[in-house]
Amino acid sequence: MDSLALLLSRLQFGFTVSFHIIFPSFSIGLIAWLTVLEALHLATRRPAYRIVFEFWLKIFGVAFGLGVVSGIVMAFEFGTNWSGLSRSSGPIQGPLLVYETFSAFALEASFFGILLFGRSRVPPWFYLLSTAMVALGTTLSAYWIMANNSWMQVPVGYVIANGQFVPNDWFKILFSPVLWVRFPHMLLASYLTGAFCVAATGAWYLLRGQFHAEARIMLRMGLFLAAVLVPLQLFFGHLAGDYVHDKQPVKFAAIEGRWHDEQPASEVLLAIPDPASETNKYAISVPVLGSLIGSLSLHSREVGLTDFPRADRPPVIIPFFAFRIMVGCGLILLLLASVLDEPFEPALPPGPAAAYHSAAGK
């Protein structure tokens, strides 16, 4: 195949998936939180909960819409760009996406209409149920998509016949241990994205001295959620990394920037990997930490990229830096969540804007 066409196809698909994932990862978390807010409003009757709900529902609508249109493109690009893949793995990936589309349509599309148009037409408990159903729909969507992707990472439950992957054990595919680590990892990522967006918006209003009561709800709930979930997310991230270590050693070596086998292995914190000379430039590394992270051991042997023929190695620079950016962001978020929880605790007297707004909300 023409290598330029291949590169362009990868760039196009990479851009599509990266652009798309912004919206679901935000909206899955947001709608779960909106369900909690609606329940809190029903339980406490505090108007501020309702105001915050209505405010974020509009934002959810836009994010949801953008997620849908960018998702349509993805469903087509599997065929337009990766015809060979979709031909041979279609019998497994296709049905998973059918379930994704159908369950999303059944739950999200119909109940979402009620969220937007139905506040005055249905009883409050049914409105809450609709919110929960949209949340369930987005969660199920995430499940099917992660089932699909996890199968691509670690294929299970199939035999190969006539050049196609023929499923022979759907149970293995749907309950693959890889999936049940990566799906929670994705859900937690969505909840965290939602939590930090909401908290940041609350903080911004507080700094401007606007909508005090509502801003405090956003900031407190967002940071509370983050404080609980960030450590959990780091744990699931570690579990997901274990699977990469065991099932995709060459990818793991690329992420670690490890060129040669080491025993015990060191951990490269930062460096500029150089594929030409198969070394790292300006490396800052910690001895033994690599074995500890890879195998929870002080003297395990960890494989290096040079064990694999060049043609089978992934490009090193992108996974190496992307992984460090991801973990770095995770650590910054952990810091934010644990440090910032306290200062906003003491209740400030409500400002005039808040008083006006909560009056308007009644």
């Binding site: 599997f78 065929g79 279609g90 369950s103």
Partner: protein, 329 residues
């Protein structure tokens, strides 16, 4: 099992053509007027339903992948360019619903995106069908026609034809959903659009005969296929009559019947081929374990629910649309 999934595919595709057909048609008509009040009324006539309509496109796409992976892989890569242009068009018109009301100064951009996106999507869908009818080049079971293998005079002709057809459906929907000036101008437009569609069908027929397309042979072998055009002709006559009498309801259903008959014509004249004259339905079908897995959940439970939701959705928003009552304002 294969028959079941062919039916699901056919129903999804037909529903997509009918439902998104009228709403793309309205997008095109939208571009023909400058009047803000009319534009608002047109948008209001599709605002609550357009995203549901496009869901049927995704449903068609994923069912094709899950149940007939070989066809999905072959056609999508053959139609790379038209499909990408179509998707770009659909995205532009989709976001226009949200964005045109957020701005005064830049509104023309979103309006152009709405009309232009609808037009491009319709043209590309028609061209794709045309290229399929004409036949794509295959070597060893793989598409070998290159990036522009789909582009031919016949495909362009079909693109224009489907665009006219969608516009006709759109006009029929507008007389059903709107009052006042929008309804009146749609009534004025329908005779011209119908004539144009008729002319297009005649040209396609003559072209197919002249070029001796393989599909003509199938027609001579199976004369019962002429039932479909006969139904279409009957519906067209009834459409003309109800437009003359200014009855708001029937034209849309009759227009849809014309479309359904055209769809049936295509499907029946290719049967049992899925990609005309090179891959049959049975050859293309996914293994039984895939089809059965989809059948017991998505097929048996969710698909009927989707149909039900579509019916409920349309009945909730039945009657004339009020421009002020839709949520985008």
């Amino acid at each position: 099992m294969v028959t079941f999934w062919v039916s699901v595919l056919a129903v999804s595709a037909l529903l997509y053509v009918l439902l998104d057909g009228f709403d793309l048609g309205i997008g095109i008509l939208f571009g023909l007027t400058r009047d803000e009040a009319r534009r608002r009324a047109m948008m209001a006539a599709v605002a609550p339903v357009w995203d549901g309509n496009e869901t049927w496109l995704i449903a068609t796409g994923v069912v094709l992948w899950g149940a007939f992976p070989i066809v999905y892989a072959t056609l999508l890569s053959a139609f790379y360019l038209p499909l990408l242009l179509m998707l770009a068009g659909l995205i532009f018109r989709g976001v226009a619903f949200e964005f045109r009301n957020k701005t005064q100064r830049m509104r023309w951009v979103w309006d152009a995106g709405f009309a232009g996106g609808s037009l491009v999507a319709a043209l590309m869908q028609g061209a794709t069908v045309g290229a399929l009818v004409e036949g794509l080049r295959f070597a060893h079971g793989e598409y070998s026609g290159g990036e522009f293998g789909w582009l031919s005079p016949f495909a362009v002709l079909c693109g224009v034809g489907l665009t006219l057809g969608y516009t006709l459906l759109g006009a029929c929907w507008l007389i059903k959903k709107c009052g006042g000036e929008v309804r009146a101008s749609s009534y004025r437009l329908i005779p011209y659009l119908s004539l144009a569609v008729l002319l297009f069908l005649v040209v396609v027929f003559v072209y197919a005969l002249a070029e001796n397309l393989p599909v003509v042979g199938r027609w001579l072998e199976r004369p019962y296929l002429f039932v479909f055009p006969a139904v279409a002709a009957g519906a067209a006559v009834a459409l003309t009559a109800s437009v003359r009498r200014r009855r708001d309801g029937p034209p849309f259903y009759l227009g849809s019947l014309v479309f359904a008959a055209a769809f049936g014509t295509l499907a029946a004249s290719f049967w049992p081929y899925m990609i005309p004259f090179s891959i049959t339905i049975d050859e293309a079908a996914a293994p039984h374990s895939s089809l059965a897995f989809m059948f017991w959940g998505a097929g048996l439970v969710v698909f009927p629910l989707m149909l039900l939701y579509t019916v409920i959705g349309y009945s909730v928003f039945r009657g004339k649309a009020e421009p002020s009552s839709h949520p985008y304002h």
